[in-house]
Symmetry: C2
Subunit: 113 residues, 2 copies
DNA sequence: CTTCATGTGTAGCAAGACTACTTGTCTGCC
DNA sequence: GGCAGACAAGTAGTCTTGCTACACATGAAG
C-alpha cells in the first residue's frame, strides 16, 4: 500500500497506537507494522517529524530515558491527545463512510449483494 | 469534512461517479455533494485539475457540447478508467481495513457489537 | 574491526488539494 | 435595460504532509 494515501490520517494512527501505552519512535514503527500485518511500513523520516508535530500540538509528551546506553525518547498520549483521538475517530468514521458510499464499503466486485 | 483528507482518494471518487454515466465538471461536483449527503462539497479548483489529471492518464475522455449556449465539457469513463477504478476499489478496501484496524471500523464508542 | 540492528534526527523534494480569481452565458427581478 | 445570481470552465499560487536520502551514535555479532 502506498503510505502516501495516509495523508492526514497518520496523526490519528499514531495517537491510536500510543493510546495503548507509551512507546518510543522506533517501537511505534514496529507496532504499526505488526498491527497492520506488514501493510504499514513507515520510514523514520515520516514518523519522527509527525511525532514532533503532535508534540508541538500538545497531543503527546516525550521523555528521555537511557536504555542500554541508548537514548530513547518515549512518547505518551496527553489528555488533549486523547480528545484529539476521539475527534479523529469520528472524522475517520465520517470519512470512510462517505468514501465507502462511492467505492463500496467492502464488497469485492463479484460478491453478489 | 475537510476534503483535504481525501488526498489520493479523490481520483477514485471521480471515477466512481463517472462509472454511472458521463457528466460534466459542474454536475460531478453536484453529484458528489448529493450522494455524500452534503459532506463532500468540493471547489472547482479541486475538481477540474483532477479531471485533467485523469484525462492525461487516459482514465476519462472528454467531449465538448454546447447546451443552452453554454459550453459543457462532458467526461466519460474509459476502459482503462474502469480498470483503474477496480484497482482503486481494492486499494480503498485495503486502506480502510488497515486504518480501521487502528481507529475502529465504524462502531461508534458506545454501540455494542 | 567491520557490519548490522537499534535508535534518533534533518534537509530537501514531490504530490495533491485548497483559496482566490477570471471569464462568459443565461435567467429572474426591479 | 441593468444587476444579481446560478451555471460552467479554468488558472496561478500556496500549503500541508509524507517520502527519500542522508547523518550520527551505540551495542552485539562475526
Amino acid at each position: 500500500m502506498k503510505a502516501q494515501a495516509l495523508h492526514g490520517h497518520l496523526d490519528a494512527l499514531l495517537l491510536a497506537v500510543l493510546e495503548q501505552g507509551a512507546l518510543h519512535g522506533y517501537a511505534i514503527i514496529e507496532a504499526l507494522r505488526a498491527r497492520s500485518g506488514g501493510t504499514l511500513d513507515l520510514p523514520t523520516g515520516t514518523i519522527y517529524p509527525a511525532l514532533r508535530r503532535l508534540e508541538r500540538a500538545g497531543y503527546v509528551a516525550s521523555s528521555w530515558s537511557t536504555v542500554n546506553g541508548r537514548e530513547r525518547r518515549t512518547y505518551q498520549l496527553t489528555e488533549a491527545g486523547g480528545r484529539a483521538l476521539a475527534g479523529e475517530r469520528a472524522g475517520w468514521r465520517e470519512f470512510s463512510a462517505t468514501v465507502g458510499r462511492f467505492l463500496g464499503p467492502g464488497e469485492p466486485p463479484g460478491a453478489p449483494a
